[in-house]
């Protein structure tokens, strides 16, 4: 079919070869081309294999690098040393306490952000006057670096827990509001108008159409912004903390404990990955109607 449109001789020359193959089993043709087909499907097994390979590749390189003695252990500890360090951190250096306080800070900052951003974003996405009033302001503030707020936060809130939560809040909130507003705006107009023609009032449209329609997108927004909240943890724990994963990383630098820096970074990555997977699982469970 495409050969009819493309006049170049190369294309027409290649065409007979294509039409000559249908005698071969279709299955085989699919198998040959499916791997690199644009947006093609791969089997569950290959997907798992590739995921495993992708995740372990940097670790293998890291392990080889250190095992061959190419790096100074002072700056680049081996995977074994880092694992050992995690074990020691867990038994005698209060790892669980550090994880606990960090998770609490992230969840408090993220939770407070979600608590305000969800209704606010809903209003911005639903009512044009609210959008005109608040969206440019939010856009402006979100470009201000959260890190730059640290001195102010310390002056205003002090150096206790509140300040760390507030930094995480500032880092996530403004992005979250805009994303929630966008999710709400993406609700198809036909869904809203259908409710209007059935006689729904404003409150009913928000409650029975806009919210349930936007829910899957909103959960995705929460999942993504939760990841950002974790990235602001280390920044937040710059503020005279004396516990937490981010703090442990910063302190380890002072004592040249490279293995602990590695351990801290890896643990934050792992916790992030687990929360992300939890959100995805919730998404699949909560919205069975999205499955074909």
């Amino acid at each position: 079919m495409t050969a009819q449109i493309s006049i170049p001789s190369a294309a027409t020359a290649a065409q007979p070869r294509h039409t000559a193959t249908p005698a071969a089993p279709a299955e085989q043709v699919v198998r040959k081309s499916s791997f690199w087909r644009i947006r093609g499907e791969i089997s569950r097994r290959s997907a798992w294999l590739l995921t495993g390979a992708g995740l372990s590749l940097p670790f293998v390189i890291w392990w080889l690098w250190t095992a061959l003695g190419l790096a100074d252990p002072m700056f680049m500890p081996s995977p074994g040393a880092v694992l050992e360090r995690i074990g020691r951190w867990g038994t005698s250096e209060g790892l669980l306490g550090d994880i606990g306080i960090s998770v609490w800070r992230v969840m408090a900052g993220f939770g407070a952000s979600a608590l305000i951003a969800l209704p606010l974003g809903l209003y911005i996405g639903t009512y044009r006057p609210v959008q005109a009033f608040l969206e440019p302001l939010t856009d402006f503030v979100r470009y201000m670096p959260a890190v730059a707020f640290i001195p102010l936060v310390m002056l205003w809130v002090g150096i206790d827990e509140g300040s760390k939560v507030l930094i995480i809040f500032i880092g996530t909130f403004f992005q979250m509001v805009l994303m929630v507003a966008e999710d709400v705006r993406r609700v198809p107009m036909a869904q809203i108008e259908a409710a209007q023609t059935m006689g729904a009032n404003r409150g009913e449209i928000v409650k029975l159409v806009i919210l349930p329609s936007a829910k899957p997108a909103l959960l995705d927004t929460l999942r993504i912004t939760c990841g950002w909240a974790w990235t602001y943890l280390v920044v937040a724990e710059l503020v005279s903390a004396n516990s937490g994963l981010g703090y442990a990383i910063l302190k380890a630098q002072r004592y040249m404990h490279t293995d602990k820096i590695f351990a801290g970074i890896l643990l934050i990555g792992l916790i992030g990955l687990l929360t992300d997977q939890a959100f995805r699982w919730l998404h699949r469970r909560a919205f069975p109607w999205m499955r074909k």
Binding site: A190, Q191, E193, Q196, T197, M198, S213, F287, W289, R291
Partner: protein
Amino acid sequence: MSDAKIHVRQVGKTFVSEQREVQALQSIDLDIQPNEFVTFVGASGCGKSTLLRIIAGLETLSCGEILLDGKPIDGPGVDRAMVFQHYSLYPWLTVMQNIKFCRQLKVIGDTVRHDGDVESAAGRADALLNLMGLTRFTDAYPSQLSGGMQQRVAIARALLPKPATLLMDEPFGALDAQTREVMHDLIRHVHRLEKSTILFVTHDVEEAIYLGSRIVLMAPRPGRIDSIYEVPLPAQRHQDMKLAPEFTELKREILARIRETSGMQTDLEQLAKLSAVAG
């Protein structure tokens, strides 16, 4: 005149954007009788959908008046139901929940309570499901249905509160030809059964003739009624009539008129000249 179901008089609609003003409708006069099936055709930009949306109460008019049962239209109402081209079903609700959606709304809930016929209303949902051939799909989600099935759900949902008027905005525009034929006979059946007044917007002239008892042909820039055709077919219709001489003659006439009023005619002539030069 006064017994018209919908009385449209000197209606105009102007859309104002930052750059320009668009005269979507100008001096529209139209009377639609109860239980009439009127189809609207015309080149794109002729305002047929806008007129339908004004009658639905989704848009306001800029001038003139529209009386529905003698009263001016003030926003959407339960007496008028609308079927959209697509994306109007609620994907998180099952087929049955979609059909019964309006039951949760305050306006409908009140009337049902007044009538005291909650029971019969429940029976109606089942009857509509049956009429649309959807009984096997009661608990399916819209994403599991074909496009034709989805539109049946949308029609059943619109019919549930027994609307006197059914407004359809290119409801079958996204369906394939075979599914569309089935839907045509279904909607004619609904029209006879429910005795509703139907206003049906389409870009498919054959569809307009087969379904309508009257065809309103509209023309663009500014959107206006160009001509109105009576369909010379009996009330009881079947697919073979599409091959009858009076059907094809009417189709030819309407298509020619749409082409003349579309403003594309000059483009086509230009193109013919160009190809003559090239040849």
